[in-house]
């Protein structure tokens, strides 16, 4: 499925990896440096990028999640002044539903808690929006996941991004060959886009978290169910283009109960007992990968994001709250050749 390394062409003035950079990384591996060598290389080329990521403990969904999220916002430097008057879109990960398998989707308690915090911080508007990749009937997913009732009780409106009005915007990433992306107007009008993924393994990309969750902003009426045009363009490359173009603001990861094995749908529940938060998505997702006991340098879109969209190397991520090691729990991953590097310790 096209997870090849394609050097980006960037019109925004960012420093890009040269052919020599990429060959240097490959050379580090070939010269026997292995993963450690590649990590050194990517660390060196993160161009001074630094980002803060917060990890907070929550053993179950009845914990005081608003307090934990507020603490996380404080730790990563988000103030009331920054939130006041903003139109905030919360984008959970709703995929599909199955009886007795709530670990497929972001838990409604986390979404409601985030909304409560943003409202207390004087956000002008908080809405929840999603565009599932497989199931076209959003209302059924809302009803069966319990998200619909939770949103209704909290007075939170929901927008089905799959059927939203769309606007064509230039692709600011250029990792794929797509010259433009068609995005929902709800996303384009938002001041803040908050990705709220579930901490899960993924049978194609290894890990799905803040960055992959943004596949769900791509409208199904344009990209289909599944959003197969993005698969043809390369899943990793599409993830990077979407992230570069929509410029998300914040990630709040539901890692209280995640999914291991054959994610993102058919895997088994994996309690990790934590929330992760951060403004830089590669940094958050690299940390999430470490919490899962997996190798971020085996996740193609993270290696490509390193130094472009944000830092991946642990040295460049400022850890807030709990230490990674205190919450790390090894997630099983499918035993298939294309995920061997993700599973490598």
């Amino acid at each position: 499925m096209g997870d090849t390394v394609t050097p980006p062409v960037d019109g925004s003035g960012r420093t890009l990896p040269t052919r020599r950079d990429l060959l240097g990384a490959a050379g580090a591996l070939a010269a026997g440096g292995g993963i450690a060598g590649a990590m050194w290389h990517w660390s060196r080329h993160e161009h001074g990028q630094r980002a803060a990521v917060f990890i907070g403990r929550a053993q179950w969904y009845d914990a005081d999640l608003p307090a934990l999220i507020k603490e996380g916002l404080n730790e990563i430097g988000i103030t009331r002044r920054q939130v006041r008057g903003k139109r905030i879109v919360l984008k959970p990960n709703l995929v599909e539903t199955a009886s007795g398998e709530p670990h497929i989707n972001t838990n409604p308690a986390v979404v409601v808690a985030a909304a409560e915090v943003f409202r207390r911080l004087d956000a002008e508007e908080v809405i929840v929006a999603e565009g599932q990749g497989h199931r076209r009937d959003s209302r059924l997913v809302l009803e069966e996941s319990g998200m619909g009732r939770a949103l209704e009780e909290s007075g939170l409106p929901f927008v089905d991004l799959n059927h939203d009005e769309v606007t064509t915007v230039p692709n600011r990433g250029h990792w794929t060959k797509l010259g433009a992306l068609q995005l929902p107007n709800t996303i384009l009008r938002a001041d803040w886009l908050v990705s709220m993924p579930k901490l899960k393994t993924h049978h194609w990309t290894g890990v799905t978290c803040s960055m992959k969750n943004l596949f769900g902003v791509m409208p199904g009426v344009v990209y289909g169910w599944p959003k197969n045009v993005l698969h043809y363009q390369g899943i990793s490359e599409s993830i990077l283009d979407i992230n570069a173009t929509v410029a998300p603001t914040l990630s709040i990861v539901d890692g209280i109960v995640g999914m291991e094995g054959d994610g993102p749908i058919m895997g088994t529940p994996k309690p990790a007992g934590c929330l992760l938060m951060g403004r830089n998505f590669p940094a958050v997702d690299a940390t999430a990968t470490r919490v899962m006991g997996l190798n971020p340098y085996g996740v193609t879109y993270l290696t490509q994001a390193s130094g472009q969209l944000g830092p991946v190397h642990e040295r460049n991520v400022h850890q807030r709250g709990e230490a990674i090691a205190s919450v790390t729990t090894r997630f099983d991953i499918l035993d298939v050749p294309h995920l061997q590097q993700v599973a490598a310790r």
Binding site: L140, E143, V222, V229
Partner: protein, 246 residues
Amino acid sequence: MLARIQEKSGGVPSTPSADSPYWPTGLAIAAWNAHDADSGHDYEHPIDRAVQWLVNTRGCAIPNRPDIYGHNSQLQGWSWVEGTHSWLEPTAYGVLGLRAVGQDHHPRTREAVVLLRDRMFPSGGWNYGNTRTFGRTLRPFPGTTGIVLTALAGARDIASIKPSIHYLNGELQHVRSPMSLAWGVIGLTECGVRPREADTWLSESALRALGRDASPLEDALLLLADPKSPPFGCDAAQPRESQVNG
């Protein structure tokens, strides 16, 4: 509206914007055909162009990989976006469009019907179009099951889709979201097995919808599921020679 936004190629876009894909083309044919019969309006040319688009457009075949996915990926129906693989809904809409104008035996219709049957779960029902990934059987959805049953209604070998009818009857006992319920009822109705409780379910669904923001798509589907307006009625259609070129 549909005729106005139809492209020269015959494709009908999913939104009025120029960059949209053309997966609704089969549905547009069914709509024009039904309107034609009711009102005397002549949509012959838009229908002809749309049929030509369907006949000349196909989803991409990819190598079979039974270790990765469960369907025969060499079969070609229609894709959501040109240049990509064939998936369930656009293929079902293509079949509906061609059957609406009597093209049940066109080679494209026949291959698409084989594709739809190939992607049915052994225990009944369909999802978005893949029964298995990495050795694990996936889950069927009521909405797409209703759509595919609508496309396959009237086809021979109805016995092979009985597990799907059984699955859908079970699901609709508790599904009240308009999209899935309406397509489910339409599919069962087209197969001649409309549940006795269907009208009650539809009323419950419509009443729930009253408290929400209006959704033209959901409202339209609930109306199509009304017993007084059989939506597709493909069986009576006769082929027109002008539509079979290509």
